[in-house]
Amino acid sequence: MRKVPIERLQEWSKLGHRTVLGETLVMLGADYPEMVTVTADLTPTARLTGFKEAYPDRFYDVGIAEQNMIDFTAGLAVEGIRPFAVGLAAIVPMRPAEQMRVALGYMNLNATVVGIEAGVRFGPLGNTHYAMDDIAVVRAIPNFTIVSPSDPLQVHKALYAAAEYDGPIYMRLTGGPGFPIMYPEDFDFQIGKAIEYRKGSEVAFISNGALLGEAVAAAEILQTKGISVRVIDMHTVKPLDTVMLDKVFSENKLIVTIEEHSPIGGLGGAVAEYKAGFSGTPKQVFASLGDKFQKLGDHAFLMKENGLTASGLAALAEENL
C-alpha cells in the first residue's frame, strides 16, 4: 500500500472515481506482477490509458463483448493470474450475470470486476446507462463480495485490498467530479468491516458509495434540530458487518439505509434481510432510487428527484422519527 498525499486526493476528488481507478491500477501493476487489466472497449472512458501504456502486455481489450470479458477473466484467474475486469456498472454485471455466477462465483475465483459510473451517474445518457440493480444481481450470487467505496482514498484502498482478497469481488464505483473527500488521512480499511463515521444515539444512517458525504451533511442538519445521528459507512454490502448492525439495532431508534440503487436487493435490502431475524429492532426506512426507471436528467437532478440529498435525507429521517 502506498501513502497518498493530500494533493493527489484533492485531484482525485476533483476528477472523480474513474481517475482514482486508472491511477490505482497503474500502481497495482507495479506492486503485483501477476495482476492484469481486462476491458471491453472502454480504455479512455475508464481511464485505463495509463495502464495500457505502462503494461501493454498485461492489458487486454476483448472488444465490445462483456460476456466474453467475464469468462476470459475467469480463464485467467483459473490459471493464477489476478485480473481486474473493468466495465460500465450499467452493463456489467447485468449483461454477463450468468458468467459472473457460473465462472467467477461458482468456481470462487480470485478476480475483481469493477463497475464504473454506478447508480445514475450517467444522467443524460438515459436509463440504458443507469446501474440501479447491479448490487441486487451480484448479491444473489454466492461467494461474491461487494464493495461500494465512499470516497477517493477508499476507492484506492479498496482496490488494493481486492488485489490480495480471496474470492470474487464486485467493486461498485460511484462519485464523479466533485467526489467528496471523507477520509483526508490514512485510515484502517478492511473489506467487510464497516466504519462508524459519526457517533449518534437516535437515528442511524447506514450508507455506502459517494452518498456518505450527503449522509454526514444530513446528520449535521438534524443535529441543529437536536436529533442525534450516527453515520455508518457500510462500504461492504456483502458480507455485511453484522457486529456493527447488532450495535445499531440495540442502540438506535430509527435506521435509514442510504444508497444510489434500487430499494430491492441492495444495501437496504441486505440490512432488512438481516434485521428480519430479530424482534424488537428499530424501524428501517429506505433512501434509494426507488423501484422505477428514472426520468432523464443530470446526476444532481436525479439525486434531488429521489431525495438523495442532505436535505432530502434529513427530511426522511424527521418524518419517520
Binding site: T45, G63, P124, L296, G297
Partner: protein
C-alpha cells in the same frame, strides 16, 4: 414518402440534419454528445427517412410503416435529426436534448408518439430485437420491412451473431441491417480492437451482403438500400457501408476523441461555418 424526392433533395436534407446534430449537441452543453457516431450515419438515415421507408409522421403507429431501429443507440442524434426534419419532433423539442425531464435522452427511449420504435443503447440488443420485429411481421403477414442501423464495433458483441444466425434460419428477408463501418469505436480504431472480415462473417451466417464503398455518398447508399429492399434472395440483408466517423466536420472526422464529448463555443462556430460552406 414524396415521389419528387431526388438524390439532390436528400443531400440537402442530410446537410440540414448535420446542422441539427451540431445544434442539439451544442445545446447539451457540458453534458456532451456522441457527435462522431451520428455524423457518420447521416446519409444512411436520411436515405431511409426521406426515400426508402414508408412512414407517416402524422400517424406514427400505422401498421404498414417500415420500422427503423437504431441499434447503435448512442448515435441517436442522427435519428432525432431525421425525426425533426420529417416532422415527428418540433424544433423546440429538439433543443431539449439531454435536458432534465426531456424525452430526448442520450440513447433512444421507446416513444411511439414521436416515432421512436424501441429503447436502445446497450449495444447489440437493438439488432436482436429487430429480428423479433421482422419475425412478427411474417407471423402477422404484414409486408413492411425492418431497417436496422448497427455499428462496426457493435459487431464485436456475441448477440449480433446469435441474432444473425437466427435471422438466416428464420429467413427474415424483410430485415435489412446497415453496418455503419466508420472504422473507429470507443477506445480506438476498429482494426486495432477487433480486426475481423465483416463481409466474410455476415456471408458465413447466411446473409445477403452488399458493400458500399462510399457510405457517405447519398447516391451510393440509396442505390444499395433500394437494391436490398427489392431483393428476391430470400435471405436477410446487410449493407456494409464504409463511412467516415464525424463526417462533415473536419476536426471530428476519423477522430477517437470526438466519439463523445462536449462541444465548446469555438468548436461549435467552426463546425457551423464548415457545414455552411460545404
Amino acid at each position: 414518402m414524396d415521389k419528387k424526392i431526388t438524390i439532390e433533395s436528400i443531400e440537402r436534407e442530410a446537410a440540414v440534419m448535420r446542422r441539427h446534430v451540431i445544434e442539439m449537441g451544442y445545446a447539451a452543453g457540458g453534458r456532451g454528445a456522441h457527435f462522431g457516431p451520428a455524423l457518420s450515419s447521416i446519409e444512411i438515415v436520411a436515405s431511409l427517412f426521406f426515400k426508402v421507408m414508408n412512414h407517416n409522421p402524422l400517424e406514427p403507429t400505422m401498421t404498414e410503416r417500415d420500422r427503423f431501429i437504431q441499434s447503435k443507440g448512442h448515435a441517436c442524434l442522427s435519428y432525432y435529426a431525421a425525426l425533426v426534419e420529417t416532422g415527428y419532433i418540433t424544433k423546440d423539442q429538439m433543443y431539449t436534448f439531454k435536458g432534465d425531464g426531456s424525452f430526448l435522452s442520450g440513447h433512444p427511449s421507446r416513444n411511439m408518439r414521436y416515432g421512436i420504435e424501441i429503447s436502445s443503447g446497450s449495444l447489440g440488443n437493438g439488432f436482436a430485437i429487430a429480428g423479433g420485429m421482422a419475425k412478427a411481421a411474417k407471423i402477422k403477414k404484414e409486408k413492411h420491412k425492418v431497417y436496422c442501423l448497427v455499428g462496426d464495433g457493435e459487431c464485436n458483441e456475441g448477440i449480433i451473431w446469435e441474432a444473425a444466425m437466427n435471422g438466416a434460419k428464420s429467413k427474415l428477408d424483410n430485415l435489412i441491417a446497415i453496418v455503419d463501418r466508420n472504422g473507429v469505436q470507443l477506445a480506438g480504431k476498429t482494426k486495432d480492437i477487433m480486426d475481423v472480415d465483416l463481409e466474410a462473417l455476415w456471408k458465413a451466417v447466411g446473409w445477403e451482403v452488399l458493400i458500399v464503398k462510399e457510405g457517405n455518398d447519398t447516391a451510393s447508399i440509396l442505390k444499395a438500400l433500394e437494391k436490398m429492399k427489392n431483393s428476391q434472395s430470400g435471405k436477410p440483408h446487410v449493407i456494409i457501408a464504409n463511412t467516415t466517423k464525424g463526417k462533415g466536420v473536419s476536426f471530428m472526422e476519423d477522430s477517437i476523441s470526438w466519439h463523445a464529448r462536449p462541444l465548446n463555443k469555438e468548436d461549435y462556430e467552426q463546425a457551423v461555418s464548415e457545414l455552411e460552406n460545404a
